[in-house]
């Protein structure tokens, strides 16, 4: 099989799509309403932010795991003519990828106002972190995992984390600094579900769930929805945020070999993001030194370290030193990271809140806005082990 992969540096979407609206519902443990209603509310909020009517939306980019079908969305939102619709495979694996796909649809002229969204009752409905009752598996990777109790994301990702610790010398305490920092960011964010700060010792003493992962290394499981509106930069200049144009500069997705079942990948100490990173930097013609803030998909805190290394912010094996004490990744630090509090403490909307926070940082409206520098360019990435995606979002 291929061992040397060369980057694909074509960047057909560069600066051809602007993010003009972001919106979300409240985040909760029990929304008390249907997923389609959550979707409509978040899309309406994003359209309000943009200064357009939901009736003008003509493109929808959905997560494959999202249950909200296009036909009912068209009917509910009063969309006059849906010109483009697609779903990006999986759940977390679609995080950030939907932004790239929406930008591509705008760049291609498939739609004038393309919305990407995620709406789900991931707490009051079916929970990803819980396994069901007795059942028979009809084959596939589940049949080679669940009979031995490998039942939930924490079990599979814990295998990564153990291996990463072995390779890098990182300890649970390093992951704790990520957790403490994310929670500190969330403590400033009124949208956040978890706002009570904790100390590094409280992290270390917190319940062990899937060793080496403590409960405070896990993201939330919650209800809620988020949406973003993209259009051309020309249209953006006539919309509500015409003085704060936010552009999609580059996007990439990647999946290396042996990605079925997560734990069979060639090296479990390396984030899948290495495959995305290669193309992303080549397309953007940029490097880590050009990035002002970093949004990573924090399903589990250790993936901060793996992604810092995969995107080259630090050399392989040195992320543990970078996150030690939390100062470097704090909102007022060298590389402000997940300033909204992330999946870990704000809410888990399958990674869509990360590019939203990138937009806020560029607009200067984050609740943990870095006081020491202007944010011109943000990297937002997802790495769910076997699939990864990233976007670079910049000031226009």
């Amino acid at each position: 099989m291929t061992t040397n992969i060369t980057a694909v540096d074509t960047n057909g979407i560069k600066d051809k799509a602007a993010i003009v609206g972001i919106g979300e519902t409240e985040f909760s443990w029990n929304s008390g309403r249907s997923e389609i209603q959550l979707a409509c509310e978040a899309i309406k909020a994003a359209c309000d932010d943009a200064g357009i009517s939901p009736q003008d939306v003509d493109g929808l980019v959905r997560y494959e795991m999202d249950s909200n079908q296009e036909t009912l969305l068209v009917q509910s939102l009063g969309i006059k003519n849906l010109r483009h619709w697609e779903c990006v495979a999986y759940g977390g694996g679609a995080g950030n990828a939907v932004v790239g796909h929406a930008a591509a649809a705008v760049a291609a002229g498939f739609g004038n106002y393309v919305v990407c969204f995620r709406a789900a009752n991931l707490r009051s409905g079916v929970r990803l972190g819980q396994a069901g009752g007795p059942e028979r598996i009809t084959g596939g990777q589940r049949a080679f995992a669940e009979p031995w109790g490998n039942l939930a994301p924490g079990h599979q990702f814990g295998m990564f984390v153990r291996r990463y610790m072995h390779a890098s010398g990182a300890t649970s305490r390093h992951f704790g600094w990520v957790a403490v920092t994310l929670r500190e960011h969330a403590s400033r964010n009124p949208r956040a579900l978890r706002r009570e700060p904790f100390t590094i010792d409280e992290h270390q003493n917190s319940r062990m769930v899937a060793e080496p992962l403590h409960v405070l290394d896990f993201c939330q499981e919650n209800d809620g929805a988020a949406a973003m509106v993209l259009t051309t930069p020309e249209r953006a200049r006539n919309l509500r945020h015409s003085d704060q144009i936010v552009l999609v500069e580059a996007a990439a997705q990647g999946s290396g070999p042996q990605n079925e079942g997560i734990i069979y990948r060639p090296d479990l100490a390396v984030a899948e993001s290495t495959n995305t990173s290669r193309d992303l930097w080549a397309r953007a013609r940029l490097g880590p030194e050009d990035i002002d803030a970093f949004m990573f998909y924090d399903h589990f805190t250790p993936f901060c370290l793996l992604n810092l290394e995969a995107y080259g912010f630090v050399p392989i094996g040195e992320a543990k030193d970078f996150v030690e004490g939390g100062q470097n990744i704090r909102f007022d630090g060298l590389l402000p990271t997940n300033t909204h509090g992330g999946n870990h403490s704000e809410a888990y909307i399958h990674g869509l809140t990360h590019p939203q926070e990138a937009v806020r940082l560029i607009r200067g409206t984050s609740t943990a806005q870095p006081p020491h520098k202007t944010i011109n360019r943000v990297l937002s990435c997802s790495s769910v082990a076997q699939l990864s995606a990233a976007v670079i979002i910049r000031r226009g």
Partner: protein
């Protein structure tokens, strides 16, 4: 014997959690489970280029042959990674008091990167380590007869 302060080892497979339906499996997965029924660890091996593969697939990812055999392997390997589960995500784990338990990924000795998921029995979770030599064994989960699971013990 368990060291003082160490947690009790697993001594058999978990009970009451999902198992494969041997009647419903894709044809290219059957050999693994048929091998386990007769207490032999059989891994899919390409009939053309002889590369082993797990998870099973209908086509060899190296030479693209669709011919394969179910080759008996030694059952020797070492722990590649492992997780100690201390919180139940399945009702049967809680109800039958099955915590803690370990899940391990074993690197089999036949080929670099050839790994399978399992549990390591007869060792306290605190004593499992990456690189630990292990050997396959076979057991039937309590309360059912149709499926035999490959498990590992310290070698």
């Amino acid at each position: 014997m368990t060291e003082p302060g160490h947690t009790r080892p697993m001594t058999g497979p978990l009970e009451g959690i999902p198992l494969p339906d041997l009647e419903a499996l894709p044809d290219y997965e059957e050999g693994f489970w048929q091998g386990a029924l007769s207490h032999v660890l059989r891994i899919q091996q390409c009939a053309e280029c002889l590369v082993f593969r797990h998870l099973p697939t209908p086509m060899c990812p190296h030479c693209h042959s669709t011919s394969y055999s179910w080759t008996a392997v030694s059952g020797q390997g070492e722990v590649y990674s492992f997780v100690v589960v201390r919180h139940p995500v399945h009702l049967a784990i809680r109800e039958k008091n099955q915590l803690p338990y370990n899940i391990a990924v074993i690197q089999l000795e036949e080929q670099d990167g050839l790994r399978i998921c399992t549990n390591v029995l007869n060792v306290a979770p605190e004593e499992i380590f990456i690189g630990m030599p292990v050997q396959v064994t076979f057991m039937v989960p309590a309360g059912q007869q149709e499926v035999v699971l490959p498990l590992f013990v310290p070698a």
